[in-house]
Symmetry: C2
Subunit: 314 residues, 2 copies
Amino acid sequence: MSLLVVGSVAYDTVSTPFGRRENALGGSATYFSIAASYFTPVSVVAVVGEDFAPGDIDLLESKGVDTSGLERAPGKTFRWVGEYSEDLNSRETLDTQLNVFADFSPTLAGQHRSTPFLFLANIHPVLQLDVLRQMEPRPRFTALDTMDFWIDGAQDDLSRIVSEVDVLFMDFGEVRSFAGEGNVLLAARRIQGMGPRAVAAKRGEHGALLFDGSSAFAAPAFPLESPVDPTGAGDAFAGGFMGCLAASSDTGPDALKRAAMVGAVMGSFAVESFSADRLSGLTRDDIAGRFRQLADMTRFHDSGGNDLPWRNDA
Amino acid sequence: MSLLVVGSVAYDTVSTPFGRRENALGGSATYFSIAASYFTPVSVVAVVGEDFAPGDIDLLESKGVDTSGLERAPGKTFRWVGEYSEDLNSRETLDTQLNVFADFSPTLAGQHRSTPFLFLANIHPVLQLDVLRQMEPRPRFTALDTMDFWIDGAQDDLSRIVSEVDVLFMDFGEVRSFAGEGNVLLAARRIQGMGPRAVAAKRGEHGALLFDGSSAFAAPAFPLESPVDPTGAGDAFAGGFMGCLAASSDTGPDALKRAAMVGAVMGSFAVESFSADRLSGLTRDDIAGRFRQLADMTRFHDSGGNDLPWRNDA
Protein backbone atom coordinates (compact mmCIF):
# COMPACT_ATOMS: atom_id res chain seq x y z
CA MET A 1 0.00 0.00 0.00
CA SER A 2 1.11 3.56 -0.52
CA LEU A 3 2.60 5.88 2.05
CA LEU A 4 2.47 9.64 2.48
CA VAL A 5 4.98 11.72 4.41
CA VAL A 6 4.50 15.34 5.36
CA GLY A 7 7.60 17.02 6.68
CA SER A 8 10.66 19.07 5.81
CA VAL A 9 13.04 19.11 2.89
CA ALA A 10 16.13 21.08 3.76
CA TYR A 11 19.70 21.97 2.99
CA ASP A 12 21.93 21.02 5.89
CA THR A 13 25.44 22.11 6.71
CA VAL A 14 26.82 19.53 9.08
CA SER A 15 30.14 19.17 10.90
CA THR A 16 31.10 15.91 12.54
CA PRO A 17 34.47 14.59 13.75
CA PHE A 18 34.65 12.88 10.37
CA GLY A 19 34.21 15.89 8.12
CA ARG A 20 31.93 18.66 7.02
CA ARG A 21 29.34 18.96 4.28
CA GLU A 22 27.74 22.24 3.21
CA ASN A 23 24.22 22.70 1.89
CA ALA A 24 23.55 19.01 1.45
CA LEU A 25 20.09 17.62 0.82
CA GLY A 26 18.42 16.83 4.12
CA GLY A 27 15.16 17.19 6.00
CA SER A 28 12.90 14.66 7.65
CA ALA A 29 10.78 13.97 4.56
CA THR A 30 13.90 13.39 2.47
CA TYR A 31 15.43 10.75 4.71
CA PHE A 32 12.05 9.18 5.40
CA SER A 33 10.95 8.89 1.79
CA ILE A 34 14.25 7.54 0.50
CA ALA A 35 14.35 4.89 3.25
CA ALA A 36 10.72 3.92 2.60
CA SER A 37 11.13 3.91 -1.18
CA TYR A 38 12.79 0.50 -1.16
CA PHE A 39 9.63 -1.06 0.23
CA THR A 40 6.59 0.82 -1.01
CA PRO A 41 5.41 3.74 -3.17
CA VAL A 42 5.87 6.92 -1.17
CA SER A 43 4.68 10.49 -1.75
CA VAL A 44 6.28 13.57 -0.22
CA VAL A 45 4.44 16.70 0.84
CA ALA A 46 6.87 19.47 1.72
CA VAL A 47 7.97 22.91 0.61
CA VAL A 48 11.23 24.04 -0.99
CA GLY A 49 12.47 27.41 -2.22
CA GLU A 50 13.48 28.73 -5.58
CA ASP A 51 17.05 27.67 -4.85
CA PHE A 52 16.14 24.00 -4.71
CA ALA A 53 18.36 22.13 -7.13
CA PRO A 54 16.68 20.19 -9.92
CA GLY A 55 19.22 17.44 -9.28
CA ASP A 56 17.77 16.91 -5.83
CA ILE A 57 14.29 16.41 -7.26
CA ASP A 58 15.87 13.99 -9.72
CA LEU A 59 17.40 12.07 -6.82
CA LEU A 60 14.05 11.61 -5.10
CA GLU A 61 12.37 10.65 -8.36
CA SER A 62 15.13 8.20 -9.17
CA LYS A 63 14.10 6.44 -5.98
CA GLY A 64 10.53 6.34 -7.24
CA VAL A 65 9.40 8.97 -4.75
CA ASP A 66 6.31 10.89 -5.87
CA THR A 67 7.33 14.56 -5.64
CA SER A 68 4.07 16.03 -6.97
CA GLY A 69 3.39 17.29 -3.44
CA LEU A 70 6.72 19.09 -3.24
CA GLU A 71 5.64 22.73 -3.36
CA ARG A 72 8.09 25.30 -4.69
CA ALA A 73 7.58 28.65 -2.96
CA PRO A 74 9.19 32.06 -3.46
CA GLY A 75 12.25 32.37 -1.26
CA LYS A 76 14.94 30.03 -0.04
CA THR A 77 14.81 26.42 1.11
CA PHE A 78 14.93 25.65 4.87
CA ARG A 79 18.55 25.61 6.02
CA TRP A 80 20.04 24.05 9.14
CA VAL A 81 23.61 24.23 10.40
CA GLY A 82 24.75 21.84 13.10
CA GLU A 83 27.79 20.31 14.70
CA TYR A 84 28.12 16.90 16.37
CA SER A 85 30.15 15.96 19.42
CA GLU A 86 33.19 13.70 19.30
CA ASP A 87 31.14 10.55 19.99
CA LEU A 88 28.26 11.66 17.70
CA ASN A 89 25.81 11.27 20.60
CA SER A 90 24.92 14.94 20.88
CA ARG A 91 24.71 17.90 18.57
CA GLU A 92 24.47 21.65 18.66
CA THR A 93 22.36 23.71 16.28
CA LEU A 94 24.50 26.61 15.07
CA ASP A 95 21.96 28.20 12.77
CA THR A 96 18.39 27.64 11.60
CA GLN A 97 16.89 29.57 8.69
CA LEU A 98 13.30 28.46 8.29
CA ASN A 99 12.88 30.43 5.04
CA VAL A 100 9.95 29.02 3.04
CA PHE A 101 9.36 26.46 5.80
CA ALA A 102 8.20 29.28 8.12
CA ASP A 103 4.94 29.60 6.19
CA PHE A 104 4.50 25.92 5.39
CA SER A 105 0.83 25.07 5.61
CA PRO A 106 0.34 21.89 3.65
CA THR A 107 -2.74 21.48 1.51
CA LEU A 108 -3.01 17.92 0.31
CA ALA A 109 -3.84 17.23 -3.32
CA GLY A 110 -6.79 14.97 -3.95
CA GLN A 111 -4.71 11.93 -4.84
CA HIS A 112 -2.82 12.16 -1.55
CA ARG A 113 -5.80 12.45 0.76
CA SER A 114 -6.70 8.80 0.63
CA THR A 115 -3.22 7.38 1.22
CA PRO A 116 -3.64 4.50 3.67
CA PHE A 117 -0.33 4.92 5.54
CA LEU A 118 0.59 8.37 6.82
CA PHE A 119 3.74 9.64 8.47
CA LEU A 120 3.61 13.04 10.12
CA ALA A 121 7.26 14.04 10.35
CA ASN A 122 8.49 16.63 12.81
CA ILE A 123 6.56 19.85 12.08
CA HIS A 124 4.30 22.01 14.27
CA PRO A 125 1.68 19.74 15.89
CA VAL A 126 -1.10 22.06 14.71
CA LEU A 127 -0.01 21.41 11.11
CA GLN A 128 0.22 17.69 11.82
CA LEU A 129 -3.37 17.73 13.05
CA ASP A 130 -4.46 19.81 10.05
CA VAL A 131 -2.93 17.27 7.68
CA LEU A 132 -4.70 14.40 9.42
CA ARG A 133 -8.00 16.31 9.15
CA GLN A 134 -7.51 16.58 5.38
CA MET A 135 -7.22 12.83 4.96
CA GLU A 136 -10.36 11.15 3.66
CA PRO A 137 -10.96 8.42 4.55
CA ARG A 138 -8.96 8.40 7.73
CA PRO A 139 -5.62 6.61 7.11
CA ARG A 140 -5.44 3.01 8.07
CA PHE A 141 -2.24 3.63 10.01
CA THR A 142 -0.71 6.93 11.12
CA ALA A 143 2.63 7.56 12.79
CA LEU A 144 4.11 10.75 14.13
CA ASP A 145 7.53 12.09 14.99
CA THR A 146 8.21 15.23 16.97
CA MET A 147 10.98 16.93 18.93
CA ASP A 148 11.70 18.56 22.29
CA PHE A 149 10.91 22.00 20.84
CA TRP A 150 7.21 21.09 20.49
CA ILE A 151 7.13 19.08 23.72
CA ASP A 152 8.32 22.17 25.57
CA GLY A 153 6.45 24.79 23.57
CA ALA A 154 3.24 23.21 22.27
CA GLN A 155 2.43 20.43 24.70
CA ASP A 156 -1.36 20.78 24.36
CA ASP A 157 -1.34 20.82 20.56
CA LEU A 158 1.03 17.90 20.57
CA SER A 159 -1.12 15.92 23.00
CA ARG A 160 -4.14 16.41 20.72
CA ILE A 161 -2.47 15.02 17.60
CA VAL A 162 -0.68 12.29 19.58
CA SER A 163 -4.06 11.04 20.75
CA GLU A 164 -5.01 10.31 17.16
CA VAL A 165 -1.99 8.37 15.89
CA ASP A 166 -1.11 4.68 15.97
CA VAL A 167 2.62 4.97 16.58
CA LEU A 168 4.61 7.75 18.19
CA PHE A 169 8.32 8.02 17.39
CA MET A 170 10.36 9.86 20.02
CA ASP A 171 13.84 9.87 21.46
CA PHE A 172 14.21 8.21 24.85
CA GLY A 173 14.54 11.54 26.63
CA GLU A 174 11.55 12.95 24.76
CA VAL A 175 9.37 10.03 25.83
CA ARG A 176 10.26 10.85 29.43
CA SER A 177 9.76 14.57 29.18
CA PHE A 178 6.54 14.38 27.15
CA ALA A 179 5.03 11.94 29.65
CA GLY A 180 6.44 13.79 32.66
CA GLU A 181 7.68 10.46 33.98
CA GLY A 182 11.32 9.51 34.46
CA ASN A 183 10.80 5.77 34.07
CA VAL A 184 10.70 5.03 30.36
CA LEU A 185 8.41 2.01 30.72
CA LEU A 186 5.86 3.95 32.75
CA ALA A 187 6.30 6.96 30.45
CA ALA A 188 5.53 4.86 27.38
CA ARG A 189 2.49 3.36 29.08
CA ARG A 190 1.25 6.82 30.00
CA ILE A 191 1.59 7.92 26.36
CA GLN A 192 -0.17 4.76 25.19
CA GLY A 193 -2.94 5.72 27.58
CA MET A 194 -3.35 8.96 25.60
CA GLY A 195 -4.20 7.01 22.47
CA PRO A 196 -1.27 5.57 20.52
CA ARG A 197 -1.14 1.83 20.31
CA ALA A 198 2.65 1.91 20.22
CA VAL A 199 5.60 4.09 21.19
CA ALA A 200 8.92 3.67 19.41
CA ALA A 201 11.52 5.06 21.78
CA LYS A 202 14.71 5.70 19.85
CA ARG A 203 18.06 5.79 21.61
CA GLY A 204 20.70 6.36 18.95
CA GLU A 205 23.59 3.94 19.16
CA HIS A 206 21.62 1.86 21.67
CA GLY A 207 18.82 1.02 19.20
CA ALA A 208 15.15 1.44 19.91
CA LEU A 209 12.52 0.08 22.28
CA LEU A 210 9.11 -0.54 20.75
CA PHE A 211 6.28 -0.55 23.26
CA ASP A 212 3.32 -2.09 21.44
CA GLY A 213 0.28 -2.80 23.56
CA SER A 214 1.64 -4.48 26.68
CA SER A 215 4.77 -5.85 25.03
CA ALA A 216 8.26 -4.36 24.72
CA PHE A 217 10.57 -5.19 21.83
CA ALA A 218 14.24 -4.21 21.73
CA ALA A 219 15.71 -3.52 18.30
CA PRO A 220 19.48 -3.22 18.58
CA ALA A 221 21.44 -0.59 16.69
CA PHE A 222 23.85 -1.94 14.11
CA PRO A 223 27.36 -1.16 15.40
CA LEU A 224 29.07 0.83 12.64
CA GLU A 225 32.77 0.80 11.95
CA SER A 226 32.64 4.11 10.18
CA PRO A 227 29.78 6.33 11.30
CA VAL A 228 29.92 9.69 9.56
CA ASP A 229 26.81 11.76 10.25
CA PRO A 230 23.80 10.78 12.40
CA THR A 231 21.58 13.44 10.78
CA GLY A 232 18.43 11.83 9.49
CA ALA A 233 18.94 8.48 11.23
CA GLY A 234 15.66 8.81 13.12
CA ASP A 235 13.76 9.70 9.96
CA ALA A 236 15.37 6.83 8.06
CA PHE A 237 14.37 4.55 10.95
CA ALA A 238 10.78 5.76 10.63
CA GLY A 239 10.97 5.41 6.84
CA GLY A 240 12.11 1.81 7.02
CA PHE A 241 9.53 1.10 9.72
CA MET A 242 6.55 2.62 7.90
CA GLY A 243 7.69 1.50 4.45
CA CYS A 244 7.88 -2.07 5.65
CA LEU A 245 4.41 -1.93 7.24
CA ALA A 246 2.81 -0.27 4.22
CA ALA A 247 4.44 -2.72 1.83
CA SER A 248 3.13 -5.81 3.53
CA SER A 249 -0.09 -4.09 4.57
CA ASP A 250 0.29 -5.94 7.86
CA THR A 251 0.18 -3.94 11.07
CA GLY A 252 -0.01 -6.79 13.55
CA PRO A 253 2.37 -7.08 16.51
CA ASP A 254 4.83 -9.30 14.63
CA ALA A 255 4.85 -6.90 11.70
CA LEU A 256 5.71 -3.99 13.98
CA LYS A 257 8.65 -5.91 15.43
CA ARG A 258 10.04 -6.66 11.99
CA ALA A 259 9.41 -3.05 11.01
CA ALA A 260 11.50 -1.90 13.97
CA MET A 261 14.37 -4.13 12.81
CA VAL A 262 14.09 -2.76 9.26
CA GLY A 263 13.99 0.75 10.73
CA ALA A 264 17.20 0.08 12.62
CA VAL A 265 18.80 -1.18 9.41
CA MET A 266 17.80 1.91 7.42
CA GLY A 267 18.84 4.23 10.25
CA SER A 268 22.28 2.64 10.28
CA PHE A 269 22.77 3.28 6.57
CA ALA A 270 21.79 6.93 7.03
CA VAL A 271 24.65 7.36 9.51
CA GLU A 272 27.28 6.01 7.11
CA SER A 273 27.47 9.17 5.01
CA PHE A 274 26.62 12.81 4.90
CA SER A 275 23.20 13.59 3.47
CA ALA A 276 21.44 10.60 1.90
CA ASP A 277 24.47 9.54 -0.15
CA ARG A 278 24.61 6.05 1.32
CA LEU A 279 20.90 5.68 1.99
CA SER A 280 19.95 6.44 -1.59
CA GLY A 281 22.40 4.01 -3.19
CA LEU A 282 21.44 0.74 -1.55
CA THR A 283 20.65 -2.58 -3.17
CA ARG A 284 18.20 -5.12 -1.82
CA ASP A 285 21.20 -7.28 -0.96
CA ASP A 286 22.68 -4.46 1.11
CA ILE A 287 19.45 -4.14 3.08
CA ALA A 288 18.71 -7.85 3.45
CA GLY A 289 22.33 -8.55 4.38
CA ARG A 290 22.38 -6.01 7.16
CA PHE A 291 18.94 -7.14 8.32
CA ARG A 292 20.40 -10.64 8.72
CA GLN A 293 23.40 -9.29 10.62
CA LEU A 294 21.14 -7.29 12.91
CA ALA A 295 18.89 -10.27 13.53
CA ASP A 296 21.99 -12.35 14.34
CA MET A 297 22.85 -9.82 17.03
CA THR A 298 19.94 -10.88 19.19
CA ARG A 299 19.53 -14.51 18.21
CA PHE A 300 20.64 -17.15 20.67
CA HIS A 301 19.84 -20.78 21.39
CA ASP A 302 16.81 -20.15 23.51
CA SER A 303 14.74 -22.90 24.93
CA GLY A 304 12.50 -20.59 26.89
CA GLY A 305 14.37 -20.62 30.16
CA ASN A 306 13.62 -24.29 30.70
CA ASP A 307 17.20 -25.44 30.40
CA LEU A 308 18.97 -22.90 32.56
CA PRO A 309 21.86 -24.65 34.31
CA TRP A 310 20.69 -24.57 37.92
CA ARG A 311 22.98 -25.43 40.75
CA ASN A 312 22.69 -29.10 41.60
CA ASP A 313 23.24 -28.93 45.33
CA ALA A 314 20.98 -25.99 46.09
CA MET B 1 32.04 -26.34 37.87
CA SER B 2 32.95 -24.06 40.73
CA LEU B 3 33.56 -20.36 40.59
CA LEU B 4 35.79 -18.05 42.59
CA VAL B 5 35.31 -14.32 43.00
CA VAL B 6 37.87 -11.95 44.45
CA GLY B 7 36.55 -8.49 45.19
CA SER B 8 35.01 -6.24 47.78
CA VAL B 9 32.45 -6.75 50.51
CA ALA B 10 31.20 -3.41 51.78
CA TYR B 11 28.62 -1.47 53.69
CA ASP B 12 26.93 1.03 51.40
CA THR B 13 24.85 4.06 52.23
CA VAL B 14 22.85 4.85 49.13
CA SER B 15 20.36 7.58 48.28
CA THR B 16 18.17 7.30 45.21
CA PRO B 17 14.98 9.14 44.21
CA PHE B 18 13.18 6.14 45.71
CA GLY B 19 14.68 6.17 49.17
CA ARG B 20 17.77 5.81 51.24
CA ARG B 21 19.45 2.87 52.92
CA GLU B 22 22.29 3.17 55.42
CA ASN B 23 25.12 0.70 55.93
CA ALA B 24 23.56 -2.01 53.82
CA LEU B 25 25.47 -5.06 52.67
CA GLY B 26 27.12 -4.36 49.33
CA GLY B 27 30.38 -4.73 47.43
CA SER B 28 31.19 -6.36 44.13
CA ALA B 29 31.87 -9.82 45.56
CA THR B 30 28.56 -9.76 47.43
CA TYR B 31 26.37 -9.01 44.43
CA PHE B 32 28.41 -11.29 42.19
CA SER B 33 28.37 -14.29 44.49
CA ILE B 34 24.67 -14.07 45.32
CA ALA B 35 23.76 -13.80 41.62
CA ALA B 36 26.04 -16.70 40.71
CA SER B 37 24.87 -18.85 43.62
CA TYR B 38 21.68 -19.85 41.83
CA PHE B 39 23.71 -21.57 39.14
CA THR B 40 26.92 -22.95 40.58
CA PRO B 41 28.98 -23.30 43.78
CA VAL B 42 30.78 -20.02 44.36
CA SER B 43 33.53 -19.02 46.77
CA VAL B 44 34.25 -15.47 47.89
CA VAL B 45 37.66 -14.05 48.67
CA ALA B 46 37.39 -10.62 50.27
CA VAL B 47 38.12 -8.79 53.50
CA VAL B 48 35.74 -7.40 56.11
CA GLY B 49 36.28 -5.60 59.41
CA GLU B 50 35.47 -6.43 62.98
CA ASP B 51 32.15 -4.62 62.55
CA PHE B 52 30.91 -7.07 59.94
CA ALA B 53 27.56 -8.43 61.05
CA PRO B 54 27.27 -12.18 61.58
CA GLY B 55 23.87 -11.94 59.92
CA ASP B 56 25.52 -10.87 56.68
CA ILE B 57 27.75 -13.93 56.70
CA ASP B 58 24.63 -15.96 57.35
CA LEU B 59 22.96 -14.39 54.33
CA LEU B 60 25.82 -15.41 52.03
CA GLU B 61 25.94 -18.88 53.51
CA SER B 62 22.20 -19.26 53.17
CA LYS B 63 22.79 -18.82 49.44
CA GLY B 64 25.34 -21.62 49.56
CA VAL B 65 28.24 -19.19 49.09
CA ASP B 66 31.54 -20.50 50.46
CA THR B 67 32.74 -17.75 52.82
CA SER B 68 35.89 -19.51 54.01
CA GLY B 69 37.90 -16.98 52.01
CA LEU B 70 36.23 -14.01 53.71
CA GLU B 71 39.05 -12.64 55.85
CA ARG B 72 38.16 -10.70 58.99
CA ALA B 73 40.77 -8.02 59.69
CA PRO B 74 41.21 -5.55 62.55
CA GLY B 75 39.36 -2.32 61.76
CA LYS B 76 36.19 -1.43 59.96
CA THR B 77 34.58 -2.79 56.81
CA PHE B 78 34.90 -0.83 53.54
CA ARG B 79 32.18 1.84 53.43
CA TRP B 80 30.80 3.73 50.45
CA VAL B 81 28.28 6.56 50.39
CA GLY B 82 26.66 7.52 47.12
CA GLU B 83 23.71 9.32 45.63
CA TYR B 84 21.95 8.64 42.32
CA SER B 85 20.46 11.11 39.87
CA GLU B 86 16.72 11.41 39.21
CA ASP B 87 16.86 8.97 36.27
CA LEU B 88 19.30 6.60 38.06
CA ASN B 89 21.71 6.87 35.12
CA SER B 90 24.47 8.62 37.01
CA ARG B 91 25.72 8.72 40.55
CA GLU B 92 27.97 10.74 42.78
CA THR B 93 30.28 9.29 45.39
CA LEU B 94 29.87 11.30 48.58
CA ASP B 95 32.30 9.38 50.75
CA THR B 96 34.62 6.40 50.49
CA GLN B 97 36.24 4.84 53.55
CA LEU B 98 38.48 2.01 52.39
CA ASN B 99 39.18 0.88 55.98
CA VAL B 100 40.36 -2.77 55.95
CA PHE B 101 40.06 -2.81 52.16
CA ALA B 102 43.04 -0.40 51.93
CA ASP B 103 45.44 -3.20 52.86
CA PHE B 104 43.61 -6.00 51.05
CA SER B 105 46.18 -8.33 49.56
CA PRO B 106 44.43 -11.60 48.92
CA THR B 107 46.23 -14.84 49.60
CA LEU B 108 44.26 -17.74 48.21
CA ALA B 109 43.76 -20.83 50.32
CA GLY B 110 44.81 -24.10 48.75
CA GLN B 111 41.28 -25.22 47.96
CA HIS B 112 40.58 -22.01 46.04
CA ARG B 113 43.66 -22.03 43.83
CA SER B 114 42.38 -24.64 41.47
CA THR B 115 38.91 -23.19 40.88
CA PRO B 116 38.23 -23.51 37.14
CA PHE B 117 36.18 -20.30 36.75
CA LEU B 118 37.58 -17.06 38.15
CA PHE B 119 36.08 -13.60 38.39
CA LEU B 120 38.39 -10.75 39.26
CA ALA B 121 36.01 -8.05 40.49
CA ASN B 122 36.96 -4.40 40.55
CA ILE B 123 40.11 -4.09 42.71
CA HIS B 124 43.60 -2.74 41.91
CA PRO B 125 44.83 -4.42 38.72
CA VAL B 126 48.09 -5.36 40.43
CA LEU B 127 46.07 -7.38 42.97
CA GLN B 128 44.03 -8.91 40.16
CA LEU B 129 47.23 -10.07 38.48
CA ASP B 130 48.59 -11.36 41.78
CA VAL B 131 45.45 -13.45 42.29
CA LEU B 132 45.71 -14.92 38.81
CA ARG B 133 49.36 -15.81 39.48
CA GLN B 134 48.31 -17.77 42.60
CA MET B 135 45.94 -19.96 40.62
CA GLU B 136 47.30 -23.43 39.87
CA PRO B 137 46.50 -24.72 37.33
CA ARG B 138 45.53 -21.64 35.38
CA PRO B 139 41.74 -21.25 35.46
CA ARG B 140 39.84 -22.56 32.53
CA PHE B 141 38.01 -19.25 32.17
CA THR B 142 38.78 -15.88 33.73
CA ALA B 143 36.79 -12.67 33.60
CA LEU B 144 37.62 -9.23 34.92
CA ASP B 145 35.74 -6.09 35.87
CA THR B 146 37.32 -2.72 36.50
CA MET B 147 36.43 0.97 36.70
CA ASP B 148 37.45 4.38 35.35
CA PHE B 149 39.63 4.97 38.43
CA TRP B 150 42.07 2.24 37.33
CA ILE B 151 41.76 3.08 33.64
CA ASP B 152 42.88 6.60 34.43
CA GLY B 153 45.37 5.81 37.19
CA ALA B 154 46.84 2.37 36.48
CA GLN B 155 46.54 1.89 32.72
CA ASP B 156 49.72 -0.17 32.36
CA ASP B 157 48.90 -2.52 35.23
CA LEU B 158 45.38 -2.86 33.92
CA SER B 159 46.59 -3.61 30.40
CA ARG B 160 48.80 -6.38 31.74
CA ILE B 161 46.02 -8.23 33.57
CA VAL B 162 43.51 -7.56 30.77
CA SER B 163 45.84 -9.35 28.36
CA GLU B 164 45.43 -12.53 30.38
CA VAL B 165 41.66 -12.78 30.79
CA ASP B 166 38.96 -14.32 28.61
CA VAL B 167 36.21 -11.75 29.13
CA LEU B 168 36.46 -8.11 30.10
CA PHE B 169 33.42 -6.44 31.70
CA MET B 170 33.34 -2.65 31.32
CA ASP B 171 30.83 0.14 31.00
CA PHE B 172 30.37 1.54 27.50
CA GLY B 173 32.29 4.70 28.33
CA GLU B 174 35.07 2.70 29.96
CA VAL B 175 35.51 0.55 26.85
CA ARG B 176 36.01 3.74 24.87
CA SER B 177 38.38 5.41 27.28
CA PHE B 178 40.44 2.28 27.97
CA ALA B 179 40.89 1.66 24.25
CA GLY B 180 41.41 5.35 23.47
CA GLU B 181 38.87 4.97 20.65
CA GLY B 182 35.52 6.71 20.50
CA ASN B 183 33.83 4.09 18.33
CA VAL B 184 32.70 1.29 20.63
CA LEU B 185 33.00 -1.42 17.96
CA LEU B 186 36.56 -0.44 17.11
CA ALA B 187 37.32 0.06 20.81
CA ALA B 188 36.15 -3.46 21.62
CA ARG B 189 38.19 -4.88 18.75
CA ARG B 190 41.26 -3.05 19.96
CA ILE B 191 40.79 -4.53 23.45
CA GLN B 192 40.24 -7.98 21.96
CA GLY B 193 43.55 -7.44 20.15
CA MET B 194 45.20 -7.09 23.59
CA GLY B 195 44.16 -10.60 24.53
CA PRO B 196 40.56 -11.06 25.71
CA ARG B 197 38.38 -13.19 23.56
CA ALA B 198 35.33 -11.16 24.51
CA VAL B 199 34.34 -7.74 25.79
CA ALA B 200 31.02 -7.29 27.59
CA ALA B 201 30.17 -3.60 27.24
CA LYS B 202 27.51 -2.73 29.79
CA ARG B 203 25.23 0.23 29.24
CA GLY B 204 22.83 0.31 32.18
CA GLU B 205 19.20 0.66 31.14
CA HIS B 206 20.22 -0.01 27.53
CA GLY B 207 21.49 -3.52 28.24
CA ALA B 208 24.86 -4.86 27.15
CA LEU B 209 26.76 -5.56 23.97
CA LEU B 210 28.87 -8.71 23.97
CA PHE B 211 31.71 -8.66 21.48
CA ASP B 212 32.89 -12.28 21.22
CA GLY B 213 35.43 -12.99 18.52
CA SER B 214 34.09 -11.24 15.44
CA SER B 215 30.45 -11.34 16.51
CA ALA B 216 28.37 -8.82 18.42
CA PHE B 217 25.40 -9.83 20.58
CA ALA B 218 22.95 -7.36 22.07
CA ALA B 219 21.36 -8.33 25.38
CA PRO B 220 18.53 -5.94 26.19
CA ALA B 221 17.94 -4.60 29.67
CA PHE B 222 14.71 -5.66 31.28
CA PRO B 223 12.56 -2.51 31.58
CA LEU B 224 11.67 -2.20 35.25
CA GLU B 225 8.49 -0.64 36.56
CA SER B 226 10.01 0.05 39.93
CA PRO B 227 13.77 0.42 39.85
CA VAL B 228 15.11 1.29 43.29
CA ASP B 229 18.89 1.21 43.40
CA PRO B 230 21.28 0.38 40.53
CA THR B 231 24.17 -0.34 42.90
CA GLY B 232 25.58 -3.78 42.18
CA ALA B 233 23.71 -4.29 38.90
CA GLY B 234 26.96 -4.70 36.96
CA ASP B 235 28.29 -7.21 39.47
CA ALA B 236 25.02 -9.13 39.46
CA PHE B 237 25.24 -9.14 35.65
CA ALA B 238 28.73 -10.62 35.87
CA GLY B 239 27.56 -13.09 38.52
CA GLY B 240 24.73 -14.37 36.37
CA PHE B 241 27.03 -14.48 33.35
CA MET B 242 29.86 -16.38 35.02
CA GLY B 243 27.57 -18.54 37.15
CA CYS B 244 25.76 -19.70 34.06
CA LEU B 245 29.00 -20.50 32.20
CA ALA B 246 30.53 -22.32 35.14
CA ALA B 247 27.36 -24.31 35.77
CA SER B 248 27.13 -25.69 32.26
CA SER B 249 30.89 -25.83 31.85
CA ASP B 250 30.29 -24.59 28.32
CA THR B 251 32.17 -21.50 27.15
CA GLY B 252 31.31 -21.66 23.46
CA PRO B 253 29.88 -18.66 21.58
CA ASP B 254 26.27 -19.76 22.15
CA ALA B 255 26.92 -20.26 25.84
CA LEU B 256 28.29 -16.73 26.14
CA LYS B 257 25.18 -15.28 24.50
CA ARG B 258 22.89 -17.10 26.90
CA ALA B 259 25.16 -16.05 29.76
CA ALA B 260 24.72 -12.41 28.73
CA MET B 261 20.94 -12.83 28.82
CA VAL B 262 21.14 -14.43 32.28
CA GLY B 263 23.45 -11.62 33.34
CA ALA B 264 20.88 -9.07 32.21
CA VAL B 265 18.21 -10.91 34.18
CA MET B 266 20.26 -10.98 37.39
CA GLY B 267 21.29 -7.34 36.94
CA SER B 268 17.64 -6.33 36.67
CA PHE B 269 16.77 -8.04 39.95
CA ALA B 270 19.64 -6.25 41.68
CA VAL B 271 18.10 -2.89 40.72
CA GLU B 272 14.72 -3.72 42.24
CA SER B 273 15.81 -3.18 45.82
CA PHE B 274 18.46 -1.64 48.00
CA SER B 275 21.35 -3.96 48.83
CA ALA B 276 20.81 -7.57 47.75
CA ASP B 277 17.33 -7.82 49.27
CA ARG B 278 15.64 -8.78 46.03
CA LEU B 279 18.60 -10.59 44.48
CA SER B 280 19.00 -12.91 47.44
CA GLY B 281 15.34 -13.92 47.64
CA LEU B 282 14.70 -15.27 44.15
CA THR B 283 13.20 -18.56 43.13
CA ARG B 284 14.10 -20.48 40.00
CA ASP B 285 10.69 -19.53 38.66
CA ASP B 286 11.47 -15.84 39.18
CA ILE B 287 14.68 -16.18 37.21
CA ALA B 288 13.37 -18.43 34.45
CA GLY B 289 10.26 -16.27 34.10
CA ARG B 290 12.20 -13.08 33.62
CA PHE B 291 14.62 -14.87 31.29
CA ARG B 292 11.63 -15.78 29.12
CA GLN B 293 10.34 -12.21 29.20
CA LEU B 294 13.74 -10.88 28.25
CA ALA B 295 14.10 -13.38 25.42
CA ASP B 296 10.64 -12.36 24.19
CA MET B 297 11.88 -8.79 23.95
CA THR B 298 14.15 -9.60 21.03
CA ARG B 299 12.29 -12.48 19.40
CA PHE B 300 10.48 -11.81 16.15
CA HIS B 301 9.34 -13.82 13.16
CA ASP B 302 12.60 -13.78 11.31
CA SER B 303 13.12 -15.56 8.07
CA GLY B 304 16.60 -14.25 7.57
CA GLY B 305 15.77 -11.20 5.51
CA ASN B 306 14.51 -13.32 2.64
CA ASP B 307 10.89 -12.22 2.94
CA LEU B 308 11.31 -8.49 3.29
CA PRO B 309 8.39 -6.81 1.51
CA TRP B 310 10.17 -5.13 -1.40
CA ARG B 311 8.45 -2.62 -3.55
CA ASN B 312 6.87 -4.30 -6.56
CA ASP B 313 7.34 -1.56 -9.10
CA ALA B 314 10.94 -0.66 -8.31
